[in-house]
């Protein structure tokens, strides 16, 4: 799904390295790029090589993508930091699996901190998109390429092993005409007849480095204003809202439907951009919702962002299962039910 969507979004360079559970994407790109006239697929000799090939392809002006799973993304962090510093667009897909270390190959959301806090070294941010379905994998892949080019920034797609392996009917957006994409005036492609351009990230003069850092920061402020996105599901009359993203949100939605049948007024808040976090939307909800239950497939990493958004105005509860275990909607429904009655929410 991501592969086809990426090609339709104008991706013409893909570099990958084998790691489960995202090999299907690499294999799809190996088959498909061969059939596109100007498409290039490279199986790199390592994760680090793959991300650096993306840096190169991006400098040359192509829409470039790489993908991996948790341990492989850790190896790519240096390259992601360079992409941010050199203001190069790129799309990176992380199909998260159980960790730390090599962990396992089951779906997990343990890389939330790594994704939203930067992951690599230095003062930078990465746009993070969290799809929750096959359709959204396809849609957000296009969005990712658009944001990458618009903001000249690496964009991370945060999926997990469940999404990496599932099959669903998807309606793909129409392919774009790559030749109609806006001209990038900063690419490197031979300096015949013009002054040569230079892309670098080594700024020995602290004043220059500070200048770059503030320039990046201003860009991040713009992004924070422009793109936060979330889905609200049955939150209008809710006394309690579950907050979850990706696969966890999908499970939570099933749980919300179950408890609604029992007459509990519960909704779901699903952040689609994890950085920038949809703070304002969440703060709006806290006007009429006093209790929030954060549900994640980790030990509670997003809780920080929820608390920062709510600024102590509501109660934040947490339920999570790390390590690649997957909760059932019934399990979450039971949690919601217990919490709902413990907080005496039915009386409101």
């Amino acid at each position: 799904m991501i592969g086809e969507a990426a090609i339709r979004a104008g991706c013409r360079f893909y570099a990958g390295y084998p790691i489960t559970p995202q090999n299907e994407l690499t294999e799809y790109m190996a088959r498909s790029m061969d059939n596109i006239e100007d498409g290039t697929f490279v199986q790199a000799e390592s994760e680090i090589a793959a991300i650096n090939m993306v840096i190169g392809a991006s400098m040359a002006g192509a829409r470039a993508m790489t993908s991996s799973s948790s341990p492989g993304i850790s190896l790519k962090q240096e390259g992601i930091s360079f992409l941010a510093a050199q203001e190069l667009p790129a799309v990176i897909v992380n199909t998260m699996r159980g960790g730390p270390g090599l962990g396992n190959i089951a779906p997990s959301q343990g890389d939330y901190f790594q994704a939203t806090r930067g992951g690599g070294h230095g003062d930078y941010r990465t746009i993070v998109l969290a799809p929750d379905s096959g359709q959204e994998l396809a849609d957000l892949t296009r969005t990712a390429f658009e944001y990458a080019d618009k903001y000249r920034s690496p964009v991370l797609m945060l999926a997990d092993g469940m999404m990496g392996q599932m099959m669903e009917p998807v309606v793909f957006p129409e392919p774009i005409d790559v030749s109609l994409l806006p001209h990038k005036p900063w690419t490197l492609g031979g300096a015949e007849g013009r002054p040569s351009r230079i892309i670098l990230s080594l700024l020995l003069n602290p004043a220059k480095q500070e200048e770059l850092n503030w320039k990046l920061e201003r860009k991040y402020e713009t992004i924070t204003r422009e793109i936060p996105k979330a889905e609200k599901y049955m939150t209008d009359d809710a006394h309690l809202a579950v907050i979850a993203y990706g696969t966890a949100a999908r499970i939570a939605k099933g749980a919300v439907k179950r408890v609604r049948e029992m007459g509990l007024k519960v909704g779901l808040f699903r952040p689609i951009t994890l950085w920038p976090y949809p703070k304002n939307d969440l703060r709006d909800l806290s006007r009429h919702i006093r209790d929030f239950l954060v549900f994640e497939m980790n030990t509670g990493q997003m809780v920080e962002d929820v608390k920062l958004s709510l600024e102590g105005k509501s109660n934040v509860h947490f339920y999570g299962r790390p390590g690649g275990t997957i909760s059932t909607p019934d399990e979450i429904a039971k949690m919601i039910n217990t919490l709902y009655h413990r907080q005496n929410l039915e009386e409101e």
Partner: protein, 325 residues
């Protein structure tokens, strides 16, 4: 006298009867790689520390909470078996020097597949060999990333179809020649470099024993058949291992101090079709393409023969040039 008694009488003189990688692991039927690992362990004995990179052999032998390992073993990431092995060796040396542990020779062994050796692990391997750690590195080469679903590696031979070098209308499988890592190791000045195949078990075991005796780094490149990834019948594993040697595609030789020696002599090379035919990964190749590969096999084989005939051991050269006078 039945067969088992015969085994008891003769085999222990040749091969350690004890298993250090015991049965019950999850390897596929007809896996040549696990056979190689098992023979390697028999040659090494119990006084070792094995650093095993991620890959089939790690997955099938250590699925939590069970393990097939009877010797000290550490599982590491994909790229760093040689680096972790270096650390273990240096750590043991320091402890030995300070008298914290008994002063005996514990061999450190790094094990990785072709991806973990020839692609992502090459940097760490090169470093370990260059620094000269007293360790053996064994590459179990089954010519692709089998654990993740048969993706090509730089060990995949020309023409083989994998999921990332698929054979189809446009492409005819792998487009590059197999990387010659044993030769890269020789270029590092490693004292003992050898190629091996579990279809020749005694040859392999002898090479591992020889490598263990070397003070300093040594490298063995073990060719292992993968019925799952090669789409070959699992009962053909041993036979394919012999055919790859008899066709000259993967000759068995060793390089001691720069001196090349063929350890399994082949009088007349068989045509490579004999080896390729039972394998699904080569099924799409046309006679023309096979001929190109056949020419390359002859060329590489002759190059090796030239080295065997022409190159002397470093010690001989030093003697001849009067460096030790």
């Amino acid at each position: 006298m039945n067969i088992i008694e015969n085994f008891d009488l003769y085999a222990p003189r040749l091969v350690d009867k004890k298993e250090y990688l015991c049965s019950g692991h999850r390897a596929c039927q007809g896996c040549g790689e696990v056979l190689g690992l098992r023979l390697m362990c028999k040659a090494l004995g119990p006084d070792v520390v094995i650093a095993n990179a991620t890959g089939c052999m790690e997955i099938i032998s250590s699925m939590y909470p069970s393990t097939a390992w009877e010797v000290p073993w550490i599982h590491v990431a994909f790229e760093n078996a040689a680096a972790v092995g270096s650390g273990v060796e240096a750590g043991l040396k320091a402890l030995r020097r300070k008298g914290k542990i008994a002063d005996r020779d514990v061999k450190v062994v790094g094990v990785a597949g072709d991806g973990g050796t020839m692609d992502i692990g090459l940097q760490a391997l090169s470093g370990a060999m260059e620094r000269g750690h007293d360790m053996l590195f064994v590459c179990l080469d089954n010519e692709a990333y089998m654990n993740t679903g048969i993706q090509r590696s730089s060990g995949t031979p020309m023409g083989a179809s994998t999921t990332t070098s698929p054979a189809g209308k446009v492409s005819s499988g792998q487009k590059t020649w197999k990387k010659n890592v044993p030769e890269i190791m020789v270029a590092h000045g490693v004292s003992y470099v050898a190629t091996a195949c579990p279809s020749y078990p005694l040859d392999f075991i002898n090479k591992v024993k020889k490598a263990m005796k070397v003070k300093g780094p040594s490298y063995i490149h073990c060719f292992t058949v993968c019925p799952t990834g090669w789409r070959s019948p699992s009962e053909m594993t041993i036979k394919l291992g012999r055919l790859v040697v008899e066709t000259g595609i993967f000759p068995l030789y060793e390089v001691e101090d720069g001196k090349y020696r063929m350890t399994v002599e082949v009088d007349q090379l068989r045509p490579i079709e004999d080896y390729m035919k039972p394998q699904g990964r080569y099924r799409h190749l046309t006679p023309d393409q096979i001929e190109i590969i056949q020419d390359r096999v002859y060329q590489e084989y002759n190059k090796l023969q030239d080295k065997i005939n022409g190159l002397h051991a470093w010690s001989d050269l030093q003697y001849e040039w009067g460096l030790f006078d």
